[in-house]
Amino acid sequence: MDIEMTAIADFAAALLLAPLLPGIINRVKAFFAGRRGQSVFQLYYDLRKLLAKGAVYSSASGFVFRLGPVASLAALLAALAVMPAGGHGSLASFDGDIILFAYLLALSRFVTVLAALDTGSSFGGMGASREVFFSALAEPAFFLSLAVLAKKAGAFSFNLIFLSANPVTGTPLLLVLAALFIVFLAENCRIPFDDPNTHLELTMIHEVMVLDHSGPDFALISYGAALKMWLLGAIVVRLALPFGGGTGGAQSPALFLAGIFALAIAAGIVESCMARLRLLKVPALLLSASMLAFAAFMVS
Amino acid sequence: MNYFELLAVIVILCDVALCAASRLRVMIRAAAVQGAALGLLAFMKPVTWEIVLLSAATIAIKAVLFPWLLNIAREKSKADEPAPYVGYNFSFAICAAMFGVSVWLSHRLDVATTLMAGAFFTVLAGFFVIVSRKSAFSQAIGYLVLEGGVYAFGMAMPNEAPALVELGLLLDVFMAVFIMGIMVYHISREFEHADMAKIAFLSDLEDYD
């Protein structure tokens, strides 16, 4: 694999800029609420603070609790290597890397859920059970969208899909984007599915799983969450913006960054305008995402 | 109306008497007369000393020995004769029907002699007695009559069976009714009655859970 310099630059950019996204979303929510809101770089400060702190481990937890954050971040970093996140080709690209990408996300979810169960508290179990339930329904939607992309692009590798001669356009594009946006919100536990900054453990999903982590572990987890947002956002962005336009040439990184920040803003807007869905209504939304992707497949 | 026609008619009349008889003694006497008639029928074939020997044995066994054996068993068991499934009068109608069928059958198989019709009628009568009478005695007599019918059918055949087979046949019939007599004696002693309708313990009918 000839790894050009641009791919490495994109990889580094992603690592650096990922924590910005949550900051932007919180800033947009604050703006809508008439508040000034915390600084966009708040997550950077938190990370620096957490990495400097000690840690408190629950007496009930064991080895898996400590392995959770580490393995989850490792999986996300590997997923980043496969995703052409910077506007050019990705570090590693081969037939079927979209499958590996999906299953790396599944691996990070797997170890986070196990870490939550290891705390021995009923809240950890509750969060884990809901997380597993929603991701089981989100998975088919994600794969159906990938199928649509693969069918249009005639190949099933991210690079070839994004740089393909005839990208997805027209109604199929809209349908796939809608589906992927719903999956983006579900996977990153944004508002319609889960409220990231709620205080009532009974309602949390993602937050309650990481409730017991502290110090450097919590830093790794928050950084992982930001990275995950970047990854899934990159897919939506690379599809939405009219890159390449059939030439298959490299797209300017600046345009890509603008796109991903715009996506963050859109997510912030959605979060400000909607309240959390009732738990029993969430599966309906995920199924609608699958329907959208299926419709896209039919149409294209 | 040669003698053999007469003998065939006697066989038929005995069958009718059997089907309609209400008391066991009458049935035994009718079976004895029929046995004698069948024995005499053997002389239809060209007479050789084997034929004479055979018919004498038949008469001795069917007309003399069986009635004596059955009467002994009957007195010892002191069993009263249970009513048959089919009323006596109605059995007359069945006799007529059976005779009609046997005549039709003998014409259908183009062997239309009275003896052939008589043979079929006796076989059917034997079946009827076994099926309709409840007492074990009457079943034994029914079997005897059935055997007689088949023997008569053999007589009516053009070519005669070898003597050894005839003898074996007779020996078997004798042994069969002999053992039946003993069995009836034991059943009547064991169950105090010989009504086979009541003796039906061996069955798979009891309902399962």
Partner: protein, 479 residues
């Protein structure tokens, strides 16, 4: 030599009848061994047949089966008679003969063997009929040896139904003579087959139909099977072993003789259809009556009806070799199972399956053989019945009647489910089981030998046995 095989047991029987208990027991053992030796000798050096008596392949096969089973039953009887004499005073015919019951029992056992040998060896169809009637008469006193009310009822039903059936068979024989017509053709098997073409087809078909019903009653095909479960479950176990293992085969032999004549006269298709219909009906009726059966001896009896149905189906599907192999396998397995059921009955004093608990602790050797025998009779591979069932199915599918094959497979599966459950219930452990009493080898050895015969046929059919089966199939294969 052939007539010796018949006269030897007959004479021994007569001697036993009037001799003392010791003489009778000695005669039983001696005759069993002598008869077996004679039969095996006749296998090695085929005998030239006479006018009345001759041994073709089929006759020889069924004679060997009868002889082997009789030897096993004879040795089992040694232990059985000591046991039963000590426990229950039984006198069936003794008042007439004024002697101990045992000699009478042994005498009729020997008469039974003599009559079966007579059936296998007779060439003349009329003579064969006489022999078959003799087997019935010889076996009736054996069934009601213990003179319990139930065995008397069973014996009477057996006698009455079989005699009526056999009388019909005699009628069939006379129909056959009518079919021969005026020509002086004696009812000799080979002669009949040679000029079968000249027989009047209408009479021949009628003769076949009547003899089929007659001998079918003796063979236990549905709907004439009604006597079989009663007789085989109420008789002493060694008698039911002989009844199931050897007697049913003789009835099948006589039926196949008449079938061969029909096939030679070109009516093979017609007779095959009759065999197939009655065979399948027997399998269906037996399967229905085996489901949720609560008496293990009746279960074995119905299994005999089912296996006779399978043999009839094999004959009907045009696979005489499969029919012969299945008859041999079935005889060995069923006889072994009946002998074992005798052990179980003696230990648990009840024929009800739910009364038999903790068989494994109580009778370890019997329970192992019982489980193996049940697996064998259900057609699991290491045993021979699997192959004969497979061949029957192949013949059925080959001859194109797929529905019959489907029905047979379904019924076999139903029987498997129906039988496997009670057998597992019998082997279940029971709490508070008394120490297992020593099982006398006289009760185990015969069943073990018979079981190993069927295992041998399952694993590896030796060449001489193969030859015997092939010649038997050829003898009855007919035209």
């Amino acid at each position: 030599m052939i007539s010796a095989a018949i006269l030897l047991p007959a004479v021994a029987g007569a001697a036993a009848l009037f001799g003392g208990k010791a003489l009778a027991r000695f005669l039983l053992k001696a005759t069993a061994c002598a008869h077996l030796a004679l039969v095996l000798y006749m296998c090695v050096f085929p005998q030239r047949g006479g006018y009345w008596l001759a041994l073709d392949g089929a006759g020889l096969l069924f004679l060997v089966l009868a002889s082997v089973l009789f030897a096993a039953a004879a040795f089992y009887a040694m232990g059985y008679l000591d046991h039963s004499a000590a426990h229950r005073e039984a006198h069936v015919l003794s008042p007439l003969f004024g002697t101990e019951p045992q000699p009478v029992f042994i005498a009729f056992l020997l008469f039974f063997l003599a009559s079966m040998s007579f059936v296998c060896a007779s060439r003349h169809l009329g003579l064969m009929w006489v022999a078959l009637e003799a087997t019935t008469l010889a076996s009736v006193p054996l069934i009601c040896f213990h003179k319990t009310p139930r065995s008397l009822e069973a014996a009477w039903k057996y006698l009455m139904i079989c005699s009526v059936g056999i009388a019909l068979a005699l009628l069939g024989n006379f129909f056959l003579t009518a079919a021969v017509g005026a020509r002086e053709v004696p009812l000799l098997y080979d002669v009949l087959r040679q000029n079968a073409a000249k027989l009047d087809p209408l009479w021949l078909k009628a003769a076949f139909a009547v003899t089929f019903i007659g001998y079918g009653t003796k063979m236990g095909l549905a709907p004439m099977h009604t006597w079989l479960p009663d007789a085989h479950s109420e008789a002493p176990s060694l008698v039911s072993a002989l009844l199931s293992g050897a007697l049913l085969n003789c009835a099948f032999l006589s039926m196949m003789r008449v079938n061969a004549v029909c096939a030679a006269a070109g009516l093979g298709a017609f007779s095959a259809k009759v065999f197939l219909a009655f065979g399948l009906l027997s399998v269906v009726v037996a399967a229905a009556l085996m489901l949720r059966q609560r008496d293990y001896k009746r279960l074995l009896a119905y299994s005999s009806v089912e296996n006779m149905g399978i043999i009839a189906v094999a004959a009907g599907a045009g696979a005489p070799y499969a029919a012969m192999l299945h008859a041999a396998n079935h005889s060995f397995t069923k006889a072994a199972l009946f002998l074992l059921s005798g052990n179980i009955l003696r230990r648990f004093k009840s024929k009800k399956i739910e009364d038999v608990k903790g068989l494994v602790q109580a009778l370890p050797k019997t329970s192992f053989l019982w489980a193996a025998g049940m697996l064998a009779i259900l057609g699991m591979p290491p045993f021979g019945i699997f192959w004969s069932k497979f061949l029957t199915l192949k013949a059925l599918l080959g001859s194109g009647n797929y529905w019959a094959a489907g029905l047979l497979l379904f019924m076999l599966a139903a029987v498997f489910a129906g039988v496997a459950h009670p057998v597992m219930e019998m082997l279940r452990p029971a709490e508070g089981q008394s120490a297992p009493e020593p099982e006398k080898c006289i009760f185990i050895l015969p069943a073990l030998l018979l079981g190993s015969c069927t295992l041998l046929l399952g694993v590896f059919i030796p060449a001489p046995v193969e030859a015997l089966l092939k010649s038997a199939a050829a003898a009855l294969g007919g035209g």
